[in-house]
Symmetry: C2
Subunit: 84 residues, 2 copies
């Protein structure tokens, strides 16, 4: 089994109220130096080596993300998690 | 400004109903070869170079994650996004 990471983020032009809420809270906590904050979803899947990249992108586009408002990145993580 | 990624995941011993729902949906879509699925949160922060690692871990532990049930990983992404 291999580990695959899929990160799903709102498209840049889409308003991200959750990210803005975090940025606002950071200011109230007195933490300076942080500009834009964006929040999305992080998936970790254990997949057989038989699962090819097309299938992974189908999984991401059909199930994990909403292609209209979200972008995604699929990353195959080597067994030791080197690509994290 | 540097880009920092914070991935927040439920601790392994914590039940992950969202991940299980995705795994079940994959089976119904007829996609085989996928074992465990875990779902968490993915944050992307633009931070000044003045923000040190301790501050980043404080942000993650105090605001982005619930340390009781979640683990997190902080990754500094070089300007070209090499570490994605």
């Amino acid at each position: 089994m291999a580990r695959v990471v899929v990160d799903v983020m709102p498209k840049p032009e889409i308003l991200d109220p959750q990210g803005q809420a975090v940025a606002g809270a950071l200011a109230r906590l007195g933490i300076a130096g942080v500009g834009d904050v964006r929040q999305g979803k992080h998936f970790e899947l254990d997949v057989d080596d038989s699962v090819d990249d097309d299938t992974l992108h189908r999984i991401a586009g059909d199930l994990l993300a909403n292609p209209v408002i979200e972008d995604w990145v699929v990353t195959r993580v080597t067994r030791e998690g080197a690509a994290r």
